[in-house]
Amino acid sequence: MKLKPTSPLARKIFGRTIRAFSISFWVMVIAFALMRVTPGDPASARLGAGAEEEAIEALREQLGLNVNPFQQFFNYLGDLSRGDLGTSLVSGISVGEIIFNSFPLTLTYIAFSFLFAFLISVPIGVLIGWSNKASWVYSFRTFTSIVIATPNFFIAMVAILFFSVQRDWAPVFGYEPGFPGNMRYLWLPIAINTLILLSIISRVLLASVIDTRSEEFVETGIIRGVSRIRFFWFYILKPSLAPTIVLMSYMMGTMLGATVILETIFSLPGIGRELVSAVLASDYPVVQGTLIFFGVITVFLSFFGDLFAYLLDRRVKL
């Protein structure tokens, strides 16, 4: 596929890229605003109620809070453009480095969860969706809606009760880096995430397959006598994947949110746990920096998800 600079596809992609950047800009603005708009002073919150005036002032100066808001915003943008997200008030490590150290772990187990969830969802969604048996569809939807409605920390608790406390198949918490040792600690969180994700993904895929099944071009494909494998991919799966892909990219953002809880429960040193510790310690720069990170990642994941879906299926509105 040749991309001429002014082909309609290129123009669309260009437009969406611009939009992604502009949304990211607003993400940064919002992160900035949230910190300033709320009552209470970050510095005194950090140092506690009984701190001395001078200490508070010093911290405010360090955080750049002693200048007027516009100046603050300008400084903020300047810092961001240099990639400087601030420094932790607790450890003194740069926020960027904290993220860099903790995100890979989170990314790893999320990615595995998505992969497994997708691989399991495809056969289930296609089998049940294509079968046209109302009873299968009904029971499947009921089961998955129960899984989705259950909060992930409760599933985690029950899983821990079952696997860690009553049997010793998984450690209750902790983490040991390096493959393959880390798998011992990661398998349960991955399994839990996979269960939740596959409930969500397979439902959408199921609905999509059911829609596809009633399309006229499928009928034409049957009459044309297309071979089984081809038919499966081009007439069943490919036309049904678009909504699933879009959903998955959206879910990535939501999943990042959910990691906060899981990492706390399992004491995994991922980015979610960093955020929670930062919140508990009123470590503003880390909270703000992590917020920006989450926001921007969600925007771009969404964007790439939409783009990928469009490349698969031109019916997607870009």
């Binding site: 399309e215 006229e216 494909g221 009459i223 081809r230 081009f234 019916r315």
Partner: protein, 330 residues
């Protein structure tokens, strides 16, 4: 050598609506199509014409429908009890299908070239060059300009008329004996409609392909078809050469003809057929057109089912009173 290509006899099709409820949607439909014949199949919505076609191409079970009784014979193959092997030899090779243009058409996630290649390579492998050559040839046959460009495009980049031409190209790819065209021009501009009709006519002439053209537009069918089969409420009620449509032997056919739009004079009244066709599942006994017929008598309702009778070698009618009303074939 018989000139009959396919014959449907007294076909009954039921559909499974729910686990307990079954509805009859086609009741005593009979149809014969000869080699090289352009047969029009006309009827209002719900007359069963689409289902009849689905039975012919074997996609009834997708919608929970099945053949209750009757026979379909295609070139000696019994389609009612055909095996998977039989269907494999027929599909894409002996029977082609052109879908309703208003509903999608080509597969939206495949390029045109890929879909044509699919249609072209149904039987045995062909080299890439041969496939490409044949695909371009087909696109030119259906009068698509710049076929090399179209091959690389996706359906959403084409107009309605072009998409239909592509569907026609795919349908004729393997030179099938029979093409089933289910309302191929619905939703297209009038000028494009005429072009597509021209194209179908040309294909029939050049390749001696039989075509079943389904429509609800009598004018359209009249313009190019050799013969017309009329369906009403699940039954075939008349078969006649299109030239003889003015001397039809069934009140319904006459009513259809008389209600054509082009007959209306300025400020004149539009003639309609009174009433509605009976809904599926609520078919009355006897002739199902009885409630809407101007010539109805008691005997019409008591003769059940209304038999599809051969009047002469080119005309059939299901009206038991046709001799009284029209005085026999002319």
């Amino acid at each position: 050598m018989t000139k009959v290509l396919a014959e449907i006899r007294d076909l009954r099709i039921d559909v499974r609506v729910t686990r307990r409820l079954r509805l009859r949607i086609v009741d005593t439909a009979s149809l014969v199509i000869n080699k090289g014949q352009l047969l029009g199949l006309i009827g209002e919505s719900g007359s069963g014409k689409t289902m009849l076609c689905r039975a012919l191409v074997g996609t009834l079970n997708r919608r929970g429908a099945y053949i209750q009784s009757g026979s379909i014979d295609f070139e000696g193959i019994d389609l009612v009890n055909a095996s998977k092997k039989d269907w494999r030899s027929i599909r894409g090779h002996k029977i082609g299908y052109i879908p309703q243009s208003a509903l999608a058409g080509p597969n939206p996630v495949m390029r045109i070239g890929a879909q044509l290649a699919e249609a072209v390579t149904q039987r045995g492998r062909k080299s890439k060059d041969e496939v490409r050559r044949r695909s371009l040839e087909l696109l030119e046959l259906v009068q698509i300009r710049r076929p090399e460009v179209v091959l690389k495009q996706y359906p959403y980049e084409l107009s309605g008329g072009m998409k239909q031409r592509v569907m026609i190209a795919c349908a004729i790819a393997q030179n099938p004996k029979l093409i089933v065209a289910d309302e191929p021009t619905t939703g297209l501009d009038v000028t494009v409609q005429a072009e597509i009709m021209e194209l179908l006519s040309k294909i029939r002439k050049e390749f001696d392909t039989s075509i079943i053209l389904v429509s609800h537009d009598l004018q359209l069918i009249n313009s190019i078809c050799d013969d017309i089969v009329v369906m009403h409420a699940g039954a075939t009620i008349e078969k006649l050469p299109s030239l003889k449509v003015t001397s039809a032997l069934h009140p319904y056919t006459h009513a259809l003809y008389d209600s054509r739009i082009d007959l209306v004079e300025p400020r004149g009244k539009l003639r309609t057929i009174k009433g509605q066709p009976p809904s599926v599942g609520k078919w009355p006994t006897g002739c199902r057109f009885a409630d809407r017929c101007d010539f109805v008598k008691d005997v019409c309702r008591s003769t059940d089912p209304a038999p599809f009778m051969q009047v002469d070698d080119s005309q059939w009618s299901a009206c038991i009173r046709h001799k009284e009303i029209y005085g026999g074939a002319k």
